[in-house]
Amino acid sequence: MSAVSRIPQYTAQWTRPVLQIAKYTLHEAVRRRFMNVILLFGIVVIASSSMFAAWAPGAELKMIVDTGLGAIRIFGLLMAVFLGAILIPTEIEKKTIHVLLAKPVSRMQFLLGKFLGAYLTVLLNIVLMGLAFLAVMYLKRSAFAGEKAMAFLYPNLAAALVLMMFELLVLTGIAITVSTIASWVFTAVFSFFVYFAAQLRTTLGHLAEPGHYDNPISQGILSVLHVVLPHFEDFDVRQKIIGGEPVLANYVGMCILGALLYTGILLLLGYFVFHEREV
C-alpha cells in the first residue's frame, strides 16, 4: 500500500480519539447544571422579547431583533467562556487527564477534542435559542407586515445566527487556549476582557493613529491590540437587519474564513504551550 493510499486510514486513526473525546465532552457538558441554567435564562429572555416589544409601539421588530439576537449572543458568550475555561483545568485538577494521556492520545488530539466538544455544546445551545427566537419572530410576523426590514428578514436572521456561531467559535478557541496555561478564573476574566475590548477595536485603531497620544508605548500597545484582537464587530449585523439591508453571502463567507483562520492560529498557539506542559 502506497503512502498516499494510507492517508485516509491515517486520518481516520488520528481523528478517532479527537471525536471520541469531543463526544464525551459534549455528553458531560450538556449535563452541567450551569449550562442548563444559562439556556433556560436565554430562552426566557427570548420568549419575553415580544413582551418588551409591546412597550415600544412602532419599533416592535427592532425590539424583538435586538433583544432576541442580543440574548443569544450574551448567553452564548457565557457558555463559550465558562465551558472553554473549565474543561482543561478541571481535567488537570481532578487528574482524569493522566489516564487519558497515558493512552494513545496526543496533546493536540486532547486539545482539539476538548475544543470541539465545548464548541458543539455551545452550538447546540445556540441552535436551541435560535429556534426559540425564530418561533417568536414567526408568531409576531403579522405585527411586522409592511416593515422595510421584512424584505430580507429571514435570510438575514439566518446569516446573523451563522455569524454568531463563528464569533463564538473564536471565543471558545480563546478560552480553551488560555486555559492550557491558566486557571479557569483567569481564563474566564481574560476571555471576557478580550470580548469586550474587541468590541472597541475600531476605536482603539483610531486612538492608535498619530496625534492622539504622544507616548509611543501607549500608541504601540493600541496598535498591537487593534491588529491582534478579533474583529467581533464584523459579526454583529443587527443594524443591517433593522435597516432592511441584505447581509451578503460573500460578507458572511469572509467572516467565516477569518474566524476559522483566527481559531486555527489560537489552537496552534495553545498546542505549543500545552505540549510542553507537565500534568
Binding site: 478517532r16 482524569t96 507537565e278
Partner: protein, 309 residues
C-alpha cells in the same frame, strides 16, 4: 530475557521560579524484564510517582533516557500497548461503568461487538458485571468500586505492560486477593507488570524484582530472592531457653530476640548456628528452626532507608 523497560540516568529536577531546585529522581537505572512483576517501593516523596509519570510521558525528564517495549516512551505505538491504573483514580463521574469502558475502548479503536465483548469480560473480571453495578454512575461508587473499574480501564486494550500505582488501595481483603490474582494472571499471560506500592507484604508476595527508592535515589535493587537472602546470615529459633543459656547464646550471636517464651538468634555463619543449637539442647531447650536467615521485605526496606539516611 529482554527488557520491557530500560532507563539510564533518569533524572527529574523541579526548578521553581523561587526557592531551591527539588531533585525528585536522580540517576535511576532500571531494567524491568519482560513477563515479570516489578515492584517499585519507597516512602512518600521517594520518587515513585515521578518515575511512573516519566514512564507514561506525563512529565519530561531533566536528563537521562527511557525506552519501553522497544519504543520511545511517549510514542503513540508505546501508549497503545500499555495500561495504567493511577493511585486514587478519578474518572468522569457522569458516566457509568459501561459508558466509561466504552469511552476508553473507543480511544483504542475498539468498536461494535468486539468492544462490547471486551467490556463484558473486564467487568466480569473485576466483579462489576451485575446490572446494578455496571449501570450506576461513577459518582455513586465506593472507593473499592472505583479501584475495580480503574483496573478494568487499564486492561481495555489488552496491554503488554501494565502500570499499577497502589492497586489495592481502598480494596477490602477479598478485593485485594482478587487484585493479586489479576496481577499474577497477567504474568502468566506473559505480560509485564510495573507495580508501585506501600504495601511491602503485597510486593513481597508477588514481585520478581524490586527497586527501593528514597528521596529520589535508588537505595537497593535486585531480584526479590537476592534482596531477602540476608547477606549469608543464619538463624536459630527455639523455645524453653533458660536465662543461663541465653547469656551464653548472646556472646555468640549477632542479635537475640526473645518473645513469649520463644527466642530467635541471628548469627554470622553456620558453625556458630550449630553450636548455639547444641547449647540450647544441652540446657533442655527445644530448637524449632535452624537455617539460612530469610528477611522480610520490610526488614530490607527499613534497613535500606536507615542506611541511606
Amino acid at each position: 530475557m529482554a527488557s520491557a523497560i530500560r532507563t539510564r540516568g533518569l533524572t527529574k529536577i523541579y526548578r521553581g521560579v523561587v526557592g531551591p531546585a527539588v531533585e525528585a529522581l536522580v540517576d535511576l537505572n532500571l531494567d524491568v524484564r519482560e513477563g515479570t512483576i516489578f515492584g517499585l517501593v519507597g516512602p512518600n516523596g521517594s520518587g515513585k510517582t515521578t518515575t511512573l509519570k516519566l514512564l507514561l510521558g506525563l512529565i519530561f525528564p531533566t536528563r537521562g533516557s527511557m525506552q519501553a517495549l522497544g519504543d520511545e516512551v511517549g510514542s503513540a505505538r508505546y501508549r497503545s500497548r500499555v495500561g495504567f491504573l493511577p493511585d486514587g483514580p478519578y474518572f468522569y463521574d457522569h458516566l457509568n461503568a459501561d459508558e466509561l469502558l466504552h469511552f476508553y475502548g473507543g480511544i483504542f479503536g475498539l468498536r461494535g461487538a468486539e468492544l462490547r465483548r471486551r467490556v463484558d469480560e473486564l467487568l466480569e473480571l473485576v466483579d462489576m458485571a451485575a446490572p446494578d453495578r455496571r449501570r450506576r454512575r461513577v459518582r455513586e461508587y465506593s472507593k473499592g468500586m472505583i479501584q475495580r473499574i480503574g483496573v478494568a480501564q487499564a486492561m481495555i486494550n489488552d496491554p503488554d505492560l501494565v502500570y499499577f500505582d497502589e492497586p489495592t488501595s481502598g480494596l477490602d481483603p477479598q478485593g485485594s486477593l482478587q487484585m493479586r490474582e489479576i496481577i499474577l494472571r497477567l504474568r502468566r499471560q506473559g505480560k509485564t507488570v510495573f507495580l508501585c506500592s506501600h504495601l511491602l507484604a503485597e510486593v513481597e508476595r508477588i514481585c520478581d524484582d524490586v527497586t527501593i527508592l528514597n528521596e529520589g535515589h535508588t537505595v537497593r535493587q535486585g531480584s526479590l530472592a537476592e534482596l531477602l537472602e540476608g547477606e549469608g546470615l543464619f538463624s536459630v529459633e527455639a523455645r524453653q531457653v533458660d536465662e543461663a543459656c541465653l547469656a551464653q547464646v548472646r556472646d555468640l550471636a549477632q542479635s537475640v530476640q526473645a518473645t513469649d517464651g520463644s527466642v530467635e538468634v541471628v548469627v554470622a555463619d553456620e558453625p556458630r548456628a550449630l553450636r548455639i543449637a547444641d547449647l540450647i539442647r544441652q540446657s533442655g531447650g527445644k530448637v524449632t528452626v535452624i537455617g539460612k536467615r530469610r528477611r522480610s521485605l520490610e526488614d530490607v526496606f527499613i534497613e535500606s532507608i536507615e542506611e541511606a539516611q
